[in-house]
Subunit: 285 residues, 6 copies
Amino acid sequence: MFHHSSKMQFPVRVEKPDPEFAMLLQQAIGGVEGEIRVAMQYFFQAMGARGDARIRDLLISTATEELSHIEMLGYAVALNLEGAPLSYQEESAKDPVINAILGGMNPRHILSSGLAAMPVNANGVPFDMSHIYASGNVAADMLANVTAEATGRVLATRLYNLTEDKGMKDFLSFLIARDTMHQQQWLAVIEEMGGLNASLPIPNSFPQENEAQEHSYYCLNTSLDKPLPKGRWSEGPAYDGRGQFTAKEQPDMLGGEPILGAARPGSGAQQEQIEGNVPPAGKPL
Amino acid sequence: MFHHSSKMQFPVRVEKPDPEFAMLLQQAIGGVEGEIRVAMQYFFQAMGARGDARIRDLLISTATEELSHIEMLGYAVALNLEGAPLSYQEESAKDPVINAILGGMNPRHILSSGLAAMPVNANGVPFDMSHIYASGNVAADMLANVTAEATGRVLATRLYNLTEDKGMKDFLSFLIARDTMHQQQWLAVIEEMGGLNASLPIPNSFPQENEAQEHSYYCLNTSLDKPLPKGRWSEGPAYDGRGQFTAKEQPDMLGGEPILGAARPGSGAQQEQIEGNVPPAGKPL
Amino acid sequence: MFHHSSKMQFPVRVEKPDPEFAMLLQQAIGGVEGEIRVAMQYFFQAMGARGDARIRDLLISTATEELSHIEMLGYAVALNLEGAPLSYQEESAKDPVINAILGGMNPRHILSSGLAAMPVNANGVPFDMSHIYASGNVAADMLANVTAEATGRVLATRLYNLTEDKGMKDFLSFLIARDTMHQQQWLAVIEEMGGLNASLPIPNSFPQENEAQEHSYYCLNTSLDKPLPKGRWSEGPAYDGRGQFTAKEQPDMLGGEPILGAARPGSGAQQEQIEGNVPPAGKPL
Amino acid sequence: MFHHSSKMQFPVRVEKPDPEFAMLLQQAIGGVEGEIRVAMQYFFQAMGARGDARIRDLLISTATEELSHIEMLGYAVALNLEGAPLSYQEESAKDPVINAILGGMNPRHILSSGLAAMPVNANGVPFDMSHIYASGNVAADMLANVTAEATGRVLATRLYNLTEDKGMKDFLSFLIARDTMHQQQWLAVIEEMGGLNASLPIPNSFPQENEAQEHSYYCLNTSLDKPLPKGRWSEGPAYDGRGQFTAKEQPDMLGGEPILGAARPGSGAQQEQIEGNVPPAGKPL
Amino acid sequence: MFHHSSKMQFPVRVEKPDPEFAMLLQQAIGGVEGEIRVAMQYFFQAMGARGDARIRDLLISTATEELSHIEMLGYAVALNLEGAPLSYQEESAKDPVINAILGGMNPRHILSSGLAAMPVNANGVPFDMSHIYASGNVAADMLANVTAEATGRVLATRLYNLTEDKGMKDFLSFLIARDTMHQQQWLAVIEEMGGLNASLPIPNSFPQENEAQEHSYYCLNTSLDKPLPKGRWSEGPAYDGRGQFTAKEQPDMLGGEPILGAARPGSGAQQEQIEGNVPPAGKPL
Amino acid sequence: MFHHSSKMQFPVRVEKPDPEFAMLLQQAIGGVEGEIRVAMQYFFQAMGARGDARIRDLLISTATEELSHIEMLGYAVALNLEGAPLSYQEESAKDPVINAILGGMNPRHILSSGLAAMPVNANGVPFDMSHIYASGNVAADMLANVTAEATGRVLATRLYNLTEDKGMKDFLSFLIARDTMHQQQWLAVIEEMGGLNASLPIPNSFPQENEAQEHSYYCLNTSLDKPLPKGRWSEGPAYDGRGQFTAKEQPDMLGGEPILGAARPGSGAQQEQIEGNVPPAGKPL
C-alpha cells in the first residue's frame, strides 16, 4: 500500500519563472524518457514479478521514489508558469519578445491546465502507457530499466544545459544523481541473477535445440557496396558462451518469392484479382 | 539507398492455415516487441549516428535485415488467413468451433485487410512510432536495442510454444536465432566503445562536478515496513568506478511542502481560488 | 513524498483462475473508468492546486489511495492468469473450450506480459494520459472527479456481475464501497466552496458583462419535427441565480453563410481554386 | 436524420487575421474541452439512451447545436489564417517578428491544411474518440456533460482574454453564454431524475447489500505526517442518505503481501525465475 | 447550421440480436473505413473550401448525410446488443457457446457503454481524427474522398456477407448503394474541375520549372534480380500531358554517403562520439 | 529481401543550417503526407497483394524507393539541426532572435533526439500505423496511393516555398518530381485493371442485385435552404455504366424514430432508466 508525506524529496526552487522552461521540463514528466514512465514501469514490473522476491521489493521501492520525482517536477512546472501571459496586450504586436514567450511556451499551459503541469511531453503529446515495458522476463525488464534511466539522465543533462536558474540547476543535479544510481542498480540485479553473460540469450529458458543455431552467431551484412564493418560483433566468442561470432558478408536468401495467388470470392477484392491474369500461389506470373 | 530482391531470407511455410495464429503473429509485426519497431529504430539511429562510422554502418545493415523480417512475417500472416471464414453460415450458431474461430481471430483481418497482415499488434492496436528510441547517445541506444531484441526473442519463443505447425516452428526458430545474435551484437558495440562500465553513467560526457554526487550511489528504501532488500545494488563498488553502493533505509525529504498559493485573476480559476481562504505560496494554511 | 508498505489495502483472493476475467479486470486498471486514471488525475490536480490548501491535501491523499487500488488489481490480474494456456495442445482443435479460452482472453497477457497485468483496457488499448483532467479550476475538476468515480463504480458493478469467484466478488465489493465514498467526497469539496449553485457558471470568476447574456438561459431546440422536450431545463430559475430557463424552439441563425473565396497563390491549392469560377469571400456564387 | 442550413448560428468576424490565435482556437475545436468532443459525446449518449425518451431528445438536439459550433470555429480559424506567411522571405532572418509568427502558429496550418482548421488541439494533437464518455448510465453521463461544459467554458474565457479582436470577442462571448446554459441543462436532467442525492451512489441500481458498506463512508487519510484535512467530506450525513461521513486517519491494510512465486516453465521468463531462489506464492523469501 | 429530424434515413431492423455482429458493425462507425471518418472529413474540407462554392455546398450536404449514417449504425449496434450476457452463469464453464459469445463480442460493450455503440473500431480502438484528410487542395481531397468511399463500400460488402439477419442485410444494402453514389460524385467534382488529367500533377499550380523534370516520368526499378514489371506505368504518354513514361531499371544513386561526423559537446552524447575515432562529416572512416 | 547501398538516391546539401526548417521537414518524414507512410503502405499492400503479380512487384519496388526517401530526409533534418542552441545564453533574454529559434524549432530535437530526425510530424506527433491503407482491394488501394502521393506533393511544394536554401530547394524539387511520377503510376495500375470506370463501384465483385439500387445514383441534398448545387454529379450517366445520376432535393427519411426502451436490470444503468417513465422500444413517450 502507498502512503504520502508532505515534504518533498528535494527542494524545488525557481528563481525566475520561465514558461518556456516549463514546457521543456514537461519532457521529464510526460516524455518517454520521463518519470511517469519509470514510475509506472517499475510498478507494473513489480506487480508481475515472479522469482526472487528481493527484486519485486526493489522495484516497488524505486517506483515509489519515482512517484516522488513526478511530484517535484510538477511543482517545478507550476512555479515556472507563474510568469506566463494571460491576457492580450496591445503592445505585443510591436514587442516581439512578448510574442516569443507565447510562441515558445506550451499554449495549453494557459488554455488547458491553468498554469500547471500536464502529463504530456515537450510537444504537448500525452504520455501513453504502451511505453511501460514489463515482459515478465526479469533480464529483459532490467535492460529496459537501464535504458529508461540512461535516456532519462541524457534528458536531465540536456535540461541542465538549457537553464541558468540556480534553483532548477540544483534540482536537476539531484535528478541526474539519482539516475546515476538507478542505471547501475538495475545492472546489479542482473549481476545477482548470474551476470549478463549467463542471462544471454534472453530468455535463457528456451531449449537451445529448438533454435536454428546455424543462424545464431553470424553478423549479417546487407550492404551491396561496403563490407560489414569489423569489430567485436564479427569475431570472438559469443557472450552467451555457446558460439563464436563471425561475419557473413551476404544473406543466403533461403526462401522463395512470396506470391499469394488469387483472391477468394467474397473477400471484397476486385473481380480482376479473383479471376484475372493471376499466378497460382507461390509462382511468379 | 535501399534495394530489394525477390527471394525471402528464409522459407515461410504454413502447413495448416490458422487465423488465430495469424492474430498472434501480428504481435511480431506491429507489437512493441516486433519487427517494425527494430527496423525503424535502427534506421533512425543510423540517420542520427554521430561518432564512429562503423556503428552507423552496422545499424543500417541490421535495419535492412529487419525489414526483411517484416516481409516474411507479413507473408506468414496472409498464409495463415487463407482458412478464415468470409461468410455467414447458418450452422455457426450450432457449431461453437466456427464461432470460436471468429472470436479468436482479429475481425479486421476480414473487414479491413481482406486476409492480409496489418501494422498492428495482437490486439489490433496500430504500432506507433513513439516507440522508436534514438536518443543521439550511442550507449543509451545500444541498451535500447538489446532490450528490443530481448523482448523480441521472448515473444518469438512464446509464439513458438503456441503453434504446432511445422512450417511456422521452423520459421520462428530462425527468428529466434537471429535475435540471439542481435542481442549480443549491440552489446559488442558497447564493448567497442570501451565496455559497459566505462560507458556509465550514461551520458558519460556530463561533468561529474555538476552532479549532486552525494545522492549518486545510495539505493533508496521507500518502504515503511521492510528493510531494503540487500544485494549487489546496496554494497560494493559502483560500476562506473566513481563510488561505492550503499543502502539508505529512509529518504531524507529535504524539500518543503509544495503549496502554490492563490490563483491569478484571469486564469480561469474559481473566484474562491483567487481570493478565498488561500495560504500564501509555500505556506500551509 | 511517497512511501510504501508491503501489505495491501484489502485481501485479493482468486479461488479459480480465469484468464477471461483477467482481461475484463484490465478495464479497471487501464480503462478510462479505471484506477490509473483517478490516481493520476488527482495527482496532477494536486500538483496544480491553487487556493484552499485542504483541497490539495485531500487530492494527494486520495491519489495515494488509488495507487493502492492499482496494486491490488494488478495482483488480481496476475492471479487470474495462472490458468492461462502457454503451449499448443493438439486437442485444442477438437475441444472448443480450449479455443474459447484463448479467444476470450487477451493474447498479450501471454505474448507481452508473461501472465501479468498491463496498463491497458479490456480491449488491450493502452491508457493514455490525455484522460487526466486537471483544468486549474477546482469546480470543473471536482465534477470531473465525481464523473470518474461514477463511471468507475458503474464499471465495478458490471465486473461484479460477471464473476462468480468469491474472492473477486469480495474484492470488488470493497472497490465499489470506496467509489461510493469518493463520489461524494468530491461533491463535499464543492459544498465547501460555497455549493454547486454558487459555483455556476463555471468559471464563476469571468465578468458576467463579457458574456452574451441574451443567449445564456434558453434551451435550444434544433429538431425540425419535434418540440423541445419539456422539463426543468426549459423552465424555472437558472441554478446560477442569474436568469430564468426558457425553451427556444428554433435557432436564430444570426450569422451569414461562410464562404472563404479564392485560395492564395503558393498555398498548394489547385489552379482552379485560385483563379477559377470563384466567389469573393463571404458571397455565394 | 440531420439537415443543414447555410446560415451560421452566430456571426463570425475577424477584424485582423492572427495565425497565432488560429492555433489557440484549435483547442476549442479539437481539444478535450472542445466542440467535437461535446457534439460526439451527446450524439453517442443519445444513440445509447435507454429510459426517459425526453433525455434522448435533449441530447440529440444539443449534439446538433454543437455541430454548428464546430462549423463557426472552423470558419474562424480559416479567417485568422488569411495572414499567414506562405513563402520564405530573405528578411525573416533579420526580422524577428516574422520568425515569431511562424514560431507561434501551428506550422501544419500551412503544411497540411492549406490555411484551414484541423481536428486537432492547440498542440496539433488530433482529437481521439476515447474522450467520448457514454456509459449507459444517465447520471454518470450527465456529470460527464457538465464537466465537459465547465472545462469548455473555462477554455472559452481564457481564449477571450487572449484576443483583442472585436469580432472574435463577440463570437467567444456567444460560446461562453451557450456553455452557461449547457452546464445547467444537464444538471436539470439530474433534477428530473430525482435530484443529485437520489442519484447517489451512481449507479443507484446496484443492491446495497453487495457493497462492503463498512468501507463506504470514511474519508481515508494516507498521509504519514498530516492529519486528514477536515471539511464536509469528513463529517455530516452522506449525500446518498445511507451513511455518515467520518475521517479515517490511517488505512487498515487488511490484505497480505502480494507475492506471485515462481514463473511457469514455457512462459518466457528467465530460468532463475522458474527454479532459482524463489518464494512460494504469497510468502516472502 | 445543423438541424435534426426524428426519423432515420432508412429503417434499421434487427431480427435476432447478435453481440458479435455488433462488434463487427463498430468498424463501420469508428473504423478508418467508417462513417465518423467521412462525416468529419467532408465537414472539415467544407470549412476550408476555397474556390468554386458549389463544391463546398456538396461537401457539407454529404457530410450531413453521413452524420445520419452514424445515427443508423449506432442504433443498429444497440439493437444487436440486446442479447448480450450481463451476468455470470455457472453453466458457462460447461457451455462453450456462452463463452464464445463473450469471447467474440467486444467486452467494453458491456463494461463501458452498457450495451450501446462506441466511437471505436472492431478491435475497440478509438477513432482518431488524424484520419481526417483535408489538405486545402481540392483534387487531393476528392481522391481522398473516393478512397474513403471505396474502402467504406468494401467494408460494407464484407459485413453484408457476415450476417444472415434480414434487417441488417437490408440496411447494409442501403449503405452499399449510397457508397456507390458517393464514390462517383467525388469523381464528378474532379470532372467539373477539368478532369483528372488536367488536375495532374497535383497540385497543378506549382511552376513546372521548379521541378527536377528529368526525374518526373520514369518508373524506377529497385529490384536486384527482377526487371521492372512492364505496363502502362512504364510506357506511353504521361497522364498530365507533359512527358512520356519510361522504365528505369536501376537507380542512379546520385548522392554521397551520409556521414554526420562528431557529436557536439553538450549534446548529451557519449564522450566517444565527441572525441573518439570519428570521421569528419561526409567522409567515411 | 532488402539490401542497402551506401550512396543516397540524390544529393542532400544544406547551405545554412536552420533548426526551424528541420521541424518543418519532419512533416515529410512522419506526417500523414510523408514518406514513412508511403513506404509502409506500399510494403503492406505488397505483402497482401493477390491477383496480377506485376502489381505486387511494382508495389515492393516503389516501397523500396520510398525507404530511400526517408533516408535522405533524415539526413536533411540532422544537417539542418547542426546550428541549434544547446545551452542557455544569458543574452537570450535580451535577444529575441535567439528565443525565436528555440520557439520555432521542435524542442525534442534537442531534448530527445540529440539533433537528429525523429519519426514524428511537424507538431512532434509520432506517426502511427493506422494510416497504412491496405484493404486487399487493389482499386481502393491504388486510389489511396494516388491520394498519398497527391498530398505528399502538395506538402513538398509548400516546403519548397518555405526555404531559400539552395541545397534544400534542389532536394525538394527531386522529391516533387518523383511524386509527379508516383501519382500517375498508380493510376496506370488502374488502367491496366480495365480503367477507372470498369473498376466502379469498388469493389466491383459484389453482386449488384444485393445492392439497394434505387439509392445508388441520386446525389442527395440535405440542405434546408439551398438547392443541391448542380454539376456532373447530378446529371449524366454514372461512371460505372449502370445508372444515371440524378439530384434528389430532399431525403426520404424512410426509417422510424430510434427509441431503445428501458435499460436491462444488471446493466449498470440508473434505476430510473430501468423502471421509470420509460417508453417501450421503438415508441416515443
